[in-house]
């Protein structure tokens, strides 16, 4: 294997900034910016989650006043969620969860914090751009929040904002316009981050950190950033044209009974889903990377099929660009186009299967331990497995004719988005909390959090698969309008109860998080006993990360390595120089 030597630049270490503003508010330090994104994202995760609770309340008890907060939030309708409020709720729930929770937590938060440390760099390639990226995201949240307080209220066109519902025809107020601006700013923040992450991975890897020695987490963030850089601008194009339609009287998307309206609402769908499908992979790629690494760490053996996994990740990235039409099977597109999208969507299941198989291969013949981060990783393997399989139903056009826009779709994407991503962000938090904050989180509370989350979560989203199978459409304020859906009320109610449990369980996490922040036991440099570079520095790392830029000599998953035995442990770090000549006997699981 050839070793590509990245230029070894050991620069003079910059002095750490002083002053509250420079250190905690307007910091260039990727670690601070990562924490800022993390807190912003967690805050919005809570807001989005509360919105979900309200949605479930309405579906469990249509027309009943919301207890406790009902009068406050829905005063004009006597504490009852009105149809208008309901449409705003599901619109903002989706928008917030995708753009303002998962993106800032996983990509902005963990991406920022971990990436330079994992590749042996002192910071990102463009620290000031990094800071700008956070404040742009912050500005986006301000604009989005403002949309709640304008005449005619918040946007109500769903997070997908299809035209013509999102144009002046369906959404005359400024709320939808503010939404478009917020999404645009959010996208700008993502593109800034993407430029930074890609340049950092290309240029700032420590000497000896070849592409095949990068942790899978780095691959996840790297590939996500490539998709971000290429496809968020497509969303920007859709948003720009929508803004022009709304504000300047153009008619890109406007058709119907308006005189002379020669636009095409389907043009919006093409542009939106050209972005939208890569977007779901943008969200899941970091999770796949993180899980690939963590399963190895806690099974105490190398990741199975690293190169096949990386190849599969790249395959998914490539294929994700040409499958978007499966969101549009009911729009009457030509048979050839529809069947092509169906086939391409199905082909994506091959690399996806390889990724899941590599996870199973990593676990097999390991010496598996089950601390909290591992439980959440296993939870992801389960929920992503199911969620991924349910995608096949929707790839098949015949089945999609019935399942499109039902709760089956909602169950499918929530199993992947809410479940798998939630699992991954909790796994990441429990795993890197010691490094970020210098303290350990409580294992007991962590395990409790896992079980109280994992069980209800599956009940909720399997339940949605069930009611979707029985035909319930999405985005219905009151399903009992339909006779064929009346029998689903008990199931809807059960789903809601499980959802309340899921929501309440997160209080365990909040408690654990803040208590540990204040009073958790101090963390050692390497509490998980693994060899990636971030664990070779103190917890939390000093401002400049590494006293000396490390020189990498092996991959990130050298666990169970026989050469570590004389050192009294079962792992080798990426930098230590050891005699690695294999012993005479074949390696097999045995006592240390």
């Amino acid at each position: 294997m050839s070793e590509r030597q990245v230029a070894s630049i050991d620069e003079e270490i910059e002095p750490a900034p002083t002053g509250f503003l420079r250190r905690y508010v307007f910091s260039h330090d990727h670690k601070v910016i990562g924490r800022q994104f993390l807190f912003l994202g967690l805050g919005f995760l809570a807001v989005g989650g509360l919105m979900a609770m309200l949605i479930r309340w309405q579906l469990a008890r249509p027309g009943a006043p919301v207890p406790v907060v009902g009068k406050l939030l829905f005063g004009p309708s006597g504490g009852v969620i009105s149809p208008v409020a309901y449409t705003a709720l599901f619109t903002m729930h989706g928008t917030i969860m995708i753009f303002f929770a998962v993106t800032p937590i996983l990509i902005g938060g963990f991406g920022n914090f971990c990436l330079p440390l994992l590749i042996g760099a002192r910071d990102m390639a463009f620290p000031r751009l990094n800071m700008a990226s956070f404040w742009t995201m912050f500005a986006a949240t301000a604009v989005l929040t403002a949309s709640f307080f304008v005449p005619l209220g918040p946007p109500e066109a769903g997070w997908t904002a299809y035209a013509t519902l999102s144009t002046a025809i369906g959404a005359p107020g400024p709320g939808q316009t503010l939404w478009v601006v917020a999404i645009y700013l959010n996208g700008a923040s993502s593109v800034m981050g993407a430029v930074n992450y890609i340049t950092t991975v290309l240029r700032l890897r420590a000497p000896g950190m070849t592409y095949t020695r990068m942790p899978l987490t780095v691959w996840g963030f790297f590939l996500t950033s490539i998709l971000n850089a290429l496809f968020v601008p497509v969303l920007a194009a859709a948003m720009v044209l929508l803004l022009f339609d709304r504000l300047l009287g153009t008619q890109f998307f406007i058709a119907g009974s308006t005189p002379g309206a020669g636009g095409d609402p389907i043009l919006y769908q093409h542009l939106f889903w050209l972005f939208g499908h890569p977007e779901v992979y943008i969200l899941i790629l970091p999770a796949w990377g993180i899980v690939g690494d963590l399963l190895s760490f806690f099974a105490r053996k190398p990741a199975f099929g690293y190169r096949v996994t990386v190849g599969a990740l790249c395959g998914v990235v490539l294929l994700s660009t040409v499958v978007y039409g499966h969101h549009m099977f009911t729009t009457g597109m030509s048979p050839l186009l529809g069947e092509s999208f169906m086939l391409l969507t199905m082909i994506i299941s091959v690399p996806t299967a390889l990724i899941v198989l590599s996870w199973l291969g990593t676990l097999w013949r390991g010496a598996i331990r089950f601390p909290t981060p591992m439980l959440f990783c296993l939870g992801l393997v389960f929920t992503f497995g199911v969620g991924g399989l349910t995608g096949l139903y929707l790839a098949d056009i015949t089945a999609d004719l019935y399942l499109h826009d039902t709760y089956f779709v909602v169950g499918h994407f929530h199993l992947i988005m809410a479940a798998a991503l939630l699992m991954s962000l909790f796994a990441a938090t429990y795993f890197w909390f010691p490094k970020m904050f210098g303290r350990m989180m409580s294992e007991g509370l962590g395990k409790l959090h896992f079980w109280l989350t994992f069980v209800p979560l599956n009940l909720v989203f399997f339940g949605m698969l069930a009611i979707g199978y029985e035909g319930m459409e999405r985005r219905l304020y009151d399903p009992s309008v339909f006779d064929f859906l009346k029998p689903l009320l008990p199931l809807n109610r059960a789903i809601s109860h499980a959802a309340y449990l899921l929501g309440a369980a997160q209080l365990v996490f909040v408690l654990n998080f803040f208590w540990s922040l204040a009073r958790g036991p101090r963390a050692a440099a390497n509490p998980w006993q693994v060899g990636t570079l971030e664990w070779s520095v103190a917890s939390p790392p000093p401002h400049h990360n590494f006293d000396r830029i490390p020189i990498v000599v092996r991959g990130p998953h050298e666990l169970g390595h026989p050469a570590a035995r004389p050192l009294g442990r079962d792992w080798l770090s990426q930098t230590e120089l050891v005699d690695e000549t294999p012993p005479a006997a074949a390696p097999s699981p045995e006592t240390a």
Partner: protein
């Protein structure tokens, strides 16, 4: 802080890499807009749309020269002049938009007008960004800025050819 000369060189290459990625992202923005244009045009019963006045190609072409001159000025080490020429381009675009609205080729006057408007406004926004960059770092980052201005010029030529000529 004194940086080792190799570090400064590294940073410059980093900046170039970063700029190339950003230009890739921007190219995707314009590619998406051009795709929208292609779809609008393919679905229109006739192109140019029936009743649309002829597009003032000459006027639009003249503006191109300002942009070309700006790129040349930048290469010759005259960022101040480049800034002036870039501003002149924007002013000229503004006049062009006014003229287009007057002759019923504005954004609300049908498919051709709205397509040109959307593409040229987005392009102008990037020219404006380039002007800000020139004002901030004109002398120091000549190589980077030259790349950026060449890109902005290339986008304009593509837009012009796609919408006004073909």
């Amino acid at each position: 802080m004194t940086a080792v000369p190799a570090a400064a060189r590294r940073r410059e290459v980093d900046a170039q890499v970063g700029l190339v990625i950003f230009l890739g992202a921007t190219a995707m923005l314009f590619a998406a807009l051009l795709l929208a244009y292609a779809i609008v045009r393919a679905q229109a019963p006739a192109w140019p749309p029936a009743g649309a006045p002829p597009f003032p190609r000459g006027a639009a072409a003249v503006n191109t020269f300002a942009l070309v001159a700006a790129s040349i000025a930048l290469r010759r080490g005259r960022p101040g002049l480049a800034l002036g020429l870039g501003a002149a381009f924007l002013a000229a675009q503004g006049l062009l938009w006014q003229h287009l609205v007057a002759i019923h080729l504005g954004p609300t006057a049908g498919a051709l007008g709205e397509v040109f408007f959307a593409l040229s406004v987005l392009h102008a926004a990037h020219v404006l960004g380039g002007l800000v960059a020139l004002a901030w770092a004109g002398a120091r980052r000549r190589r980077l800025l030259t790349l950026y201005w060449d890109f902005v010029l290339a986008i304009w030529i593509v837009v012009y050819l796609a919408v006004c000529v073909l």
